[in-house]
């Protein structure tokens, strides 16, 4: 719909920062990937090991989170999906406590109660949900509260392209537009909803056209372009922050790995091409070509990210397991 404003293209500092964020996310996902699979063999058991349960990793989708969250403050809100790590890290959720939650420890964001699809961080107003598109409505409420109190906070609500066919998507966009809430709706189009290709789930090739159904601006960013996301999100966040209401941004991104770990992706015809479409080497090359980063800086950024992730994982592993005797706690808050 609306074309992105190229005048909002990022300068070198921002570009470096976008790269740094993407690398941190990827380092995190690779570390989780390794530990997730490490101790589930020989007969792969989803419930076994250091990190049990379903695991939806965001590798390949770093440009979306990095580009959007570059515009956010800690008092802005983000509600993410079942695939939440990239947005959590880009928005500044504490990486130690996040790792600890994924490892199911008492020091985790949810004291091990939530798990990787249920990360709640009041400090950064971050949350996520395992139910498709149902993270949108609470984001409206956060935006409502910000506006109601006269602040200029913004709420970012994320779903996948598959989720854009769920009723909650429609209801949320209508209500946000109607009440002119400071929300930015982000759709991550990674072409797949588990095994179902976009063409078999969505009647239109571009979800940004759906913005017209709510009288809000819609924009699609192609080619998993982190700077394209950055520009589009910059406009949208500013619009929301200054009373201009919601925007819908769809980003054509890439699911680098399976839907969840253990997914052999037999249904995916373009599988062989996927690694070649990894956005990080591509962005790295362009920053190198533009002289924004040199080999040293790249290596420093990578080393720092790896070290930070290692510390977080170590923190998680060193943390105590929850006490089974407290399994029934936290159902209700103490009487006020």
């Amino acid at each position: 719909m609306t074309d992105r404003n190229d005048s909002a293209a990022p300068g070198p500092d921002v570009r470096r920062e976008l790269y740094r964020t993407m690398v941190l996310i990827r380092s995190f996902e690779e570390a989780i990937l390794a530990d997730y699979h490490a101790d589930k063999k020989p007969a792969w058991d989803i419930g076994a090991g250091l990190i049990p349960g379903e695991m939806h990793l965001s590798a390949g989708q770093e440009p979306v989170a990095a580009g959007v969250c570059a515009h956010l403050r800690a008092d802005d809100a983000v509600t993410a999906t079942h695939r939440p790590h990239h947005f959590a890290l880009a928005h500044g959720v504490d990486i130690d406590r996040m790792a600890a939650e994924i490892y199911g420890r008492e020091t985790g964001l949810g004291r091990g109660r939530g798990g990787h699809m249920h990360l709640f961080d009041p400090a950064t107003h971050f949350s996520c949900s395992g139910i498709i598109a149902e993270g949108y409505p609470p984001a409206l409420g956060q935006a409502f509260a910000f506006k109601h109190r006269g602040g200029d906070g913004v709420a970012v609500a994320v779903t996948g392209e598959g989720a854009a066919n769920q009723g909650a998507f429609h209801e949320s966009l209508n209500l946000a537009a109607l009440w002119q809430l400071p929300v930015v709706f982000v759709v991550e189009d990674n072409d797949w909803g588990i095994s179902v290709p976009r063409s078999a789930s969505t009647a239109v090739p571009d979800n940004s056209v759906r913005a017209a159904a709510y009288g809000m601006p819609g924009i699609r960013v192609e080619e998993n372009a982190v700077e394209g996301v950055y520009s589009a999100a910059g406009e949208a966040v500013e619009r929301a922050r200054f009373g201009g209401g919601p925007t819908l941004i769809e980003v054509h991104t890439l699911r680098l790995w399976g839907h969840f770990e253990g997914d052999a992706q037999g249904y995916r015809p373009e599988l062989a091409d996927v690694p070649g479409r990894d956005p990080i080497p591509a962005y790295e090359a362009s920053l190198r070509a533009d002289g924004v980063l040199d080999e040293d800086e790249i290596s420093r950024i990578r080393t720092e990210a790896a070290a930070r992730v290692e510390r977080a994982v170590q923190f998680a592993k060193d943390s105590p397991h929850p006490d089974p005797a407290q399994a029934r706690e936290y159902v209700f808050a103490g009487a006020s």
Binding site: L109, R111, F332, A333, A335
Partner: protein, 350 residues
Amino acid sequence: MTATLNPPSTAGATATSRRLTTAKAIVEAIGQEMETAPSVILLGEDVGAYGGIFSSTTGLLEKFGPTRVLDTPISETAFIGLATGAAVEGLRPIVELMFVDFMGVCLDQIYNHLAKIHFESGGNVSVPVVLTTAVGGGYSDGAQHSQCLWGTFAHLPGLKVVVPSNPYDAKGLMTAAIRDDNPVVYMFHKGVMGLPWMAKNRRSTGEVPAESYQVEIGRASVARRGTDVTVVTVSLSVHHALDVAEQLESDGISAEVIDLRSLVPLDRAAIRESVARTGRLVVVDEDYLSFGMSAEVIASVVEHDPRMLTRAPIRVAVPDVPIPYARELEYAVLPTRARIEAAIRGVMQG
């Protein structure tokens, strides 16, 4: 918890009390809390100019204006979820689901989000939302507008569930619900609201103190003392049970009537304490019979000690059938006075 003896029309009376309908008592509680706490907001379908289809919000738009009293689109998932998110950020929303029968379009927001966020966050996030909703039948509104469904809500963890039967409790429970840091599902039966356009029911109007007060969530009340049989019930059926109990007195049957008032937490101690004295139990429930409140009440007694029951308990509930439209059929499945009386007489002989 022990039940309080609380025939509200007397115990609740104070110097400042007036006779109000349940609907007016609810509105008064909301209004008083909105007055003291700017964080309290109210949203839902037709809660503004209309004042709530069942008069649960009358006059509040006029008093508090459209920034705090908001009519919503017919988008229950969006606006109940909005309430959840607003509560996470420190507001205290009251959100109305017009009929409980509509829960199916938005239950995910209620039971997977509103109810679970506190737990999933390890207690770090609180979600103080009051979800009000109208329940119950008896006026031929058919299978999609006459259900109670409190058993459904009470089964799902993370939600407190209150079901007042009279104006005094309605006000006190509403105040308590708004002040509670947890999600509270507040279910009002249309038949206890004292609406001018429904069959009149003398127990829907009663003494209500003008000042603010709380009725503790999770505490049953002994609506009537008795020695022969314990009738455990809730909501409109409390009225019917009291009517029947009064009438049976002259036949020498002394029925105790327990108004649960809350289903979550459930005052199991109050149930047991009464049954321990009477040895006989009738459960009256306008919700569906199986897998619901009536069985839970019985199990609460028996898992403590089956010998407390000297007779087989009897359940009077909707016999697992959708609520029929035609009056004859509907009243054949509702827990009417006649069915309650038969059950009490049955358990006395049994």
